[in-house]
Symmetry: C2
Subunit: 242 residues, 2 copies
């Protein structure tokens, strides 16, 4: 009807266009050599520069924010983000919970991956571990034991233990990934109920892992970690089987 049929490009699927728009924004950041923390153009400027409406643009921007590429501050502006894996964690959590309704397959796969990372990298981490870092690990163990003695749950302390275990590697990506796995597992753990796990036993298991690390026994540490994950896997299996 309209006479403006001069649309040049054969329209791809809408999804492809949205992804192209995201790529364009990222390319723009790279081209202008913006660093983490640097400000981006305003939404209005971007919508003009990229030739799309502000609404369409915002949808792409929100995705980039979720991916941890940019940071949006209300009333101030948009900036290149340092790092953020929260969104990924949410997505994986959702999949894990969804899978629990069936066989818990994805949840178990998640544990497998985490196990490979932890038992595979514990040796490297021990190689470059400082005495201070070793002490901070024991501190985390102590905290778990205290909480266990008080009968309280120690999700945070447990996560902290594992984080400190691999802090020496100085690999943010790894820490973030493990954080994601942890977050997912924690959510799933809530879903499958408090369980009848023995807090003291769990704390003792972590004490053993610490002992192996302190002794410099890589093989033993790796093996203990493996057994730790076997327990987790068994618990998920029980939850699914009921």
């Amino acid at each position: 009807m309209t006479t403006s049929g001069v649309v040049p490009q054969a329209r791809f699927s809408a999804q492809a266009r949205l992804r192209a728009l995201q790529s364009d924004i990222m390319e723009l950041i790279l081209e202008r050599e913006l660093e983490a923390g640097d400000p981006l153009p305003t939404e209005s400027e971007l919508s003009v520069a990229l030739g799309v409406g502000r609404n369409t643009l915002r949808e792409s921007l929100k995705v980039l924010q979720a991916l941890g590429v940019i940071e949006i501050r209300h009333g101030f502006g948009m900036f290149v983000a340092p790092s953020n894996f929260d969104a990924l964690a949410d997505g994986l959590t959702f999949r894990g919970r969804l899978s629990l309704r069936h066989q818990g397959l994805e949840a178990l796969q998640l544990v497998d991956v985490r196990q490979a990372l932890e038992s595979g990298l514990i040796g490297s981490s021990m190689d470059v571990m400082t005495p201070e870092q070793l002490a901070s690990i024991e501190e985390a163990v102590k905290q778990m034991e205290d909480l266990a003695a008080a009968g309280e749950n120690f999700v945070a302390a447990d996560a902290e233990f594992h984080r400190r275990l691999f802090e020496p590697l100085n690999n943010e990506l790894l820490i973030n990934l493990m954080g994601v796995f942890w977050k997912v597992y924690r959510k799933i753990h809530v879903e499958i109920g408090p369980g009848n796990e023995d807090l003291m036993k769990t704390a003792a298991m972590h004490r053993n892992i610490y002992a192996a690390v302190a002794a410099g026994d890589k093989a033993s540490a790796s093996e203990l970690l493996n057994r730790h994950f076997d327990g987790i896997r068994r618990r998920i299996g029980e939850a699914v089987g009921d």
Copy 2:
């Protein structure tokens, strides 16, 4: 100023509200026990049900689509998605390229994680590998050698080799993650230029890995993989150092 100060909830940051909205949508899916492939309510229905405008809702929807939680089909509807890690790959690729401008730190971390996964899981994969799967691996090696002999690059064949190496584990999450890492590395590889790598040498290295796997020598396979990644790491280091 206005007398309508009856707003019940103390307004959190806009970002928190958006995340809450995403969670609400995912909760809605879980509550209604929707399975992968099942249709979601329409945008209009959702915007009414969740008490937000269609525009705001769509921003959350697009994020969920990017996270692989839902699938949106233009003119048809929205559905619970099976799985999709493309968005994550894009985000990580961006970070990797961004980091190349500095020390290439994140790119190297990415290689570390992938190395831990591959060398850590090769043993488990060999445990459950069938003769057919082993044969398919050799096939991939052969393809690499043919391409190398022809002087052509073999990015796809290389990726396929690594994929088949861990296919026996039947762990989709792992395959997806490795796919992400591969995609990122490939993009970075393009960025740092074709390099002066020796195709024949690379192909031969993969042949060696295959040989160790075929011989059932786990330690050797793991070690060869480690050396393979050392080469990749060196190449990134060279690209950054120029």
